[in-house]
């Protein structure tokens, strides 16, 4: 078994959230290395070499994102850390910030140096108020020890770091809505282009990165991009934090090396140790609520019969017909007693509640889907409602300003694609459906 921790290596050490203990355990080495012996472009080059892909959900290569940053003369640049983690099923960033706040701050300093940003922000979800206090304490320690402020370590590089809390809206995790919110406006996503890399916070070039991506810069700079790229499999390099939840024996946050098989992750002794209460696996959402759900026969094997691995590529094998996405790593597992219709309704309710209401397909469509799913779940549905749902989400998908519309449409589309029998049973057996659950679905005899 290959098992290597980069981000969560030290979280068990008592007092790791204080500067002294963190420093004693090799903290802030990457800042010293970068500021004293590297140029900003060399740091960007290391991140590019590492093959690190954005950990927020989209999986866009971080190094490439950094190299897109416009660098006009005389215009300040900003780095913003997206700590607005609100995807149902994802709780990795909170854990990381809570346990090891200095790792994020170290990553912010090194990344800001690489991007030439002198004022950086951590935009944190409003509900994480206690984490905000942890981060602010850590930041003041870093200021006191000369790692933040003017002329850091005598290198001439200045950096101010602020933590800004949001109001607790899911939409503010979308990068342009986040910037609007940070500017003090209503959190509505902006039209793209221009992208934040050209025109972001207060019109200045801005990079927005997830907490985990920024934290991963620390081991990349410490050990070199090539060494980081050795970990993992193919184009999915490094380690990934997975927040496992649902009917598992041992749910929680795991740092896995990319390329672990899904079967090992669910059933392995080092990971989740199987489904709780000796039940059977019914379905799994591998990347947070907005990615397509997979039925049990597609979780551990792909449609082609290969082992499914925890990588960006393997999880999306087969496209949306038989695959899903790694997303943000919110791994949700359902056992045979769970109702997929109810779960889909629950997600639809979430997206209807969190839609910003700016563009019409998302504003009206998410609310409509929620109402139709509510009918189906509560035994008032018709067969035509299932077709209606399919049509509504086809009209939402791709037609909205920001990806929230897609995120609302995909789980519903996938649930109907794989669990149509269960939806139809809710219509045909209305009374039964209110009393018991459908149970396991059978694999279609013809491969999809």
């Amino acid at each position: 078994m290959k098992y290597r921790k980069l981000l969560l290596e030290n979280v068990h050490i008592p007092g790791i959230d204080t500067f002294d203990v963190y420093r004693k355990n090799g903290g802030y080495r990457s800042v010293e290395k970068a500021l004293k012996s590297m140029t900003p472009d060399e740091v960007v080059e290391e991140v590019k070499k590492s093959g690190l892909r954005g950990r927020g959900g989209a999986g866009f290569p971080t190094g490439m994102k950094w190299s897109f940053l416009a660098k006009p003369e005389g215009v300040p640049r900003h780095l913003v850390c997206n700590a607005d983690e609100s995807e149902p099923g994802t709780f990795k960033d909170r854990y990381l910030m809570e346990k090891n706040p200095h790792l994020l701050i170290e990553g912010m300093i090194t990344s800001s140096f690489a991007l030439g940003a002198n004022l950086s922000f951590i935009y944190i979800r409003g509900e994480f108020m206690y984490v905000l206090h942890i981060l602010e304490k850590a930041i003041s320690e870093a200021y006191a020890n000369g790692f933040l402020g003017k002329n850091i370590l005598g290198s001439g590089f200045d950096l101010d770091l602020c933590v800004a809390p949001g109001g607790g809206a899911y939409i503010c995790g979308e990068e342009t809505a986040l910037l609007e919110s940070l500017e003090g406006k209503r959190g509505n996503p902006r039209m793209k282009p221009p992208f934040p890399a050209v025109k972001g916070l207060w019109g200045c070039p801005t990079v927005v990165n997830n907490v985990e991506s920024i934290a991963a810069v620390v081991p990349i700079v410490n050990e070199g991009g090539d060494a980081y790229a050795q970990i993992g499999l193919g184009r999915s390099t490094g380690t990934k934090l997975i927040s496992a939840s649902g009917n598992l024996v041992r749910p929680g946050v795991y740092e896995i090396e990319m390329g672990v098989s899904v079967e090992e992750f669910i059933y392995g002794d080092d990971y989740c140790r199987g489904i709780a209460n000796d039940k059977k696996l019914k379905a799994c959402i591998p990347g947070g609520s907005s990615v397509p759900i997979l039925p049990h026969y597609l979780v551990t094997k792909t449609a082609a019969g290969e082992d499914r691995l925890m990588t960006y590529e393997s999880l999306s094998d087969g496209g949306f017909a038989t695959g899903s996405m790694l997303g943000s790593g919110g791994f949700i597992v359902f056992d045979e007693d769970q109702c997929i219709v109810r779960n889909t309704w629950n997600f639809a309710r979430f997206y209807a509640h969190e839609s910003c209401g700016q563009c019409s397909p998302c504003r009206e469509g998410t609310g409509w889907m929620e109402k139709v799913l509510h009918r189906l779940e509560h035994g008032h549905g018709n067969m035509r409602d299932i077709t209606l749902l399919e049509e509504i989400n086809k009209k939402i998908e791709g037609n909205t300003i920001c990806p929230l519309g897609d995120a609302a449409a995909w789980p519903v589309a996938a649930a109907i694609r794989h669990f149509r029998d269960e939806f139809e049973w809710h219509v045909n057996e209305r009374e039964q459906s209110q009393k018991r659950n459908y149970g396991l679905i059978t694999q279609p005899s013809v491969a999809v």
Partner: protein, 320 residues
């Protein structure tokens, strides 16, 4: 100048033009409908998604098609771009979808709505909507709020195009209304029932594509197609004084700004001819206006019904 092809029509436009404006320069029926974009108000657009078009080729340099439909009001043209609007089946279905979304919560009370006859959503529904609704739930309603004695806000009809918010931002000194709440519950409102009072607030009525903002001095007085729109001007210190007065006999029923065929306030001498509230709400007497003559109206428009045609045949005439 760069070349762009929209629905097989090739046109040359300035770099930086949006697809929608390029189509408007070409004119005709290739122009995508727009419910939220307003060329006179920078920053509008992108929200209603009715102007979605298919880009079959991005540019000469990169001729790959764009995977998603794009909002033509906010996408700039590239040299050699090929755009499909009415020739694309995909655009047609998705625009139908957007219209359906806009109508699921919009009350179908056109017979008692003052906007009927000049409502953009009516036109859009007529062209792209379906005859039946698939929405079985109760439509969304809001508690009525009072925003002053001149303007009526009927939030149930609002499609949240944000145009009135931009008008308040760009024409008036301070904006007192905005969008509250989010998602399905988003609504245009003043914070804690504040009245909207300033000299140019009436322009919110002109930019509203639906009957959400209507003129209280004209409400329920007449249907727009019974009135004759006449171009008129007056000497006003606050605005250009160039307006359209809507008359029945010799009586002025309402005053609006001069609007072009896209429902936008016209530019006169390179300035958008917004009108002030005094002209709009208080000058309802023919003695206060110099009436130039009938306003030319599209022959197919519902406004050109009734007695108007005979006047048009006579040509411009100075009354008063």
């Amino acid at each position: 100048m760069i070349k762009v092809t929209i629905d097989d029509i090739e046109i040359e436009v300035e770099p930086g033009t949006t697809i929608l404006n390029a189509a408007r320069q070409a004119g005709g029926d290739i122009v995508p409908p727009a419910m939220c974009y307003y060329s006179k108000l920078p920053g509008t657009g992108g929200k209603c998604r009715t102007c979605l078009v298919e880009v079959a080729a991005g540019s000469t340099a990169d001729p790959r098609p764009m995977p998603k439909l794009v909002a033509s009001c906010s996408t700039t043209v590239m040299d050699g771009m090929i755009v499909k609007n009415k020739t694309s089946e995909r655009v047609h279905t998705n625009r139908g979808g957007v219209v359906e979304f806009l109508l699921v919560n919009h009350p179908l009370d056109c017979p008692i709505c003052d906007q009927a006859g000049e409502c953009h959503l009516q036109d859009l529904g007529y062209e792209h909507g379906s005859a039946k609704t698939r929405y079985e739930e109760k439509r969304r309603t809001y508690d009525p709020i009072d925003i002053g004695n001149k303007i009526k806000l009927h939030m149930n009809r609002c499609i949240l195009c944000y145009r009135c918010v931009h008008v308040a931002n760009q024409l008036t000194d301070s904006r007192v209304h905005g969008v509250l709440h989010r998602g399905e519950h988003a609504e245009i409102s003043t914070y804690i029932e504040n009245a909207i009072e300033n000299d140019f607030s009436g322009n919110m009525i002109d930019v509203c594509p639906v009957g959400a903002l209507t003129d209280k001095t004209f409400r329920f007085k007449s249907r727009v197609w019974f009135l004759k729109p006449m171009e008129a001007e007056c000497s006003c210190t606050k605005c250009s004084g160039k307006a359209v007065v809507w008359m029945f006999g010799n009586e002025i029923f309402r005053v609006t700004a001069r609007k072009d065929k896209y429902g936008e306030v016209e530019n006169i001498e390179d300035k958008t001819a917004w009108i002030c509230n005094d002209c709009r709400f208080d000058k309802k007497d023919t003695s206060k206006w110099n009436i130039i003559g009938p306003r030319s109206i599209n022959r197919h428009s519902v406004i050109s019904q009734g007695k108007y045609k005979t006047n048009m045949d006579k040509g411009p005439k100075k009354i008063n």
